[in-house]
Subunit: 200 residues, 2 copies
C-alpha cells in the first residue's frame, strides 16, 4: 500500500538516503521528510555540495587522502615532517589521527588484508607504500591500523615487506584508554598495558 502514496520523486530520495551508512529505511524516511518540510532552502545547498564534491574531490595520487588537488594538502604542506609516514586503513582514520596533532605524512591503504573478504595485498596500496618508504627522506613508518585481527595481520605483512627499506617501523601504543576504567577493560588491553608499563 505504501508505494502509491509516496510519489516516485520522494521514493527515490528515500532510497538514495537509505544507502548512506547509519541510515536505515525508517531513518531515511525521517531524513527525507525533514528535507521536504524545510524545502528548497535545505535541499538546494545539499544538492550543490554533493555536485561540487563529486566534481572536485579526488584521491591523492601519492597518499590516497581525499582532497581537491591531485596532490593533497598534506602531501604538499612543506611544514610537515617528511621523514615519517603514518599508514592507516581509511581516510576516516587519517582524520582521527589529524585531531591527535600528528605532523607527518600519511599513507591510506584503502582497507586491510582479509582472507574472509578476499582482500589480498594487490587490492591495497602496499607497493606504493614500499616505494615511498624507499625514498631517502623517509626514516620512519608508523603502522596505525586498527587493533583488530585483520589490522594487525596487515601490519605484520607490511613489516615484512619493508624489511629491505632503511626505515624504522613503529606502531601505536596499546594500553588503557584515557578516562578508561580498569574494571571495564578486556584482558588483552590490560595485559598489553601491564607489559608496556613505564616509570611514573
Amino acid at each position: 500500500m505504501a508505494a502509491p502514496v509516496i510519489g516516485p520523486e520522494i521514493d527515490r530520495l528515500i532510497q538514495l538516503l537509505a544507502r548512506l551508512p547509519g541510515l536505515g529505511p525508517r531513518s531515511a524516511r525521517r531524513a527525507a521528510l525533514d528535507l521536504l518540510k524545510k524545502g528548497e532552502a535545505s535541499m538546494g545547498p545539499l544538492a550543490d555540495a554533493l555536485t561540487v564534491a563529486a566534481a572536485r574531490i579526488t584521491s591523492c595520487s601519492r597518499c590516497s587522502n581525499l582532497d581537491t588537488p591531485i596532490s593533497c594538502h598534506i602531501c604538499t604542506d612543506a611544514r610537515r615532517n617528511k621523514s615519517a609516514i603514518c599508514v592507516v586503513e581509511e581516510v576516516a582514520d587519517l582524520w582521527a589521527l589529524e585531531r591527535a596533532s600528528y605532523g607527518g605524512h600519511y599513507h591510506v591503504l584503502g582497507g586491510v588484508l582479509s582472507a574472509l573478504d578476499g582482500v589480498g595485498p594487490e587490492d591495497l596500496s602496499i607497493i606504493d607504500l614500499v616505494n615511498r618508504a624507499a625514498e631517502p627522506d623517509v626514516t620512519e613508518v608508523i603502522l596505525a591500523m586498527n587493533a583488530t585481527v585483520d589490522g594487525q595481520t596487515t601490519a605484520h605483512y607490511i613489516t615484512d615487506r619493508l624489511i629491505d627499506c632503511n626505515v624504522s617501523v613503529t606502531r601505536l601504543a596499546h594500553g588503557v584508554p584515557v578516562g578508561g576504567e580498569l574494571d571495564y577493560l578486556d584482558d588483552g588491553t590490560l595485559i598489553q598495558a601491564m607489559k608496556a608499563r613505564r616509570p611514573f
Copy 2:
C-alpha cells in the same frame, strides 16, 4: 587541527549531512566518506533527486500531504472514501496509516498544540479542517494523533471545534499492541485495554 585537513568542500558536505535527523557529526563524517569513496556514481543521483524533489514536491493545498501536484494523489483519488477524514500530526503518520490499509482522506495538522513550545491553534491547519468537516460529503473525522499528552490535548481541542459540524468524531483504539507481552506494557495501556475489552 581538523579544519585545515578536511577541505572546505568536504567540510560543507559533512555540515549539511549532519543537519539531517538521525545523523550526528560522526555519522555525517562516515556518510560523507562513503559518498566520496563511491564518487560521482553515488553523489550525482542523490544531488539530482534532491534537486527534483526541491523543484517538484509541494504541500497539498487541501490536506497538507507532500506530493507533486497542487492537489495530492490522495485528495484526487476518486476511489477513496470521501466521507472520512483522518487527522494526523505529520506526513510520516499519514505514510504509517497508509500501510494500515486506510482508504479514506487525510488532514495533516503540521504538529500538535503545545504550551511549552508555544504552538497555538493558529499554528496548525485546524480552521481548514473545520471547513473540510463542514462539507456535505464528510460524515466522520478520525483523530489519529499520537497517544501523547500534547496529541490528546489537540484531539480534545479539535473535538470541541467540530461540535457544530454534522460529523461523528472518532479516535484510534487504545490497547495491547499486536505481539505485545502484558508483563512489559505500561499500566495506562493495560487499563485502557481492560476498559475497552470486547467479546471473543
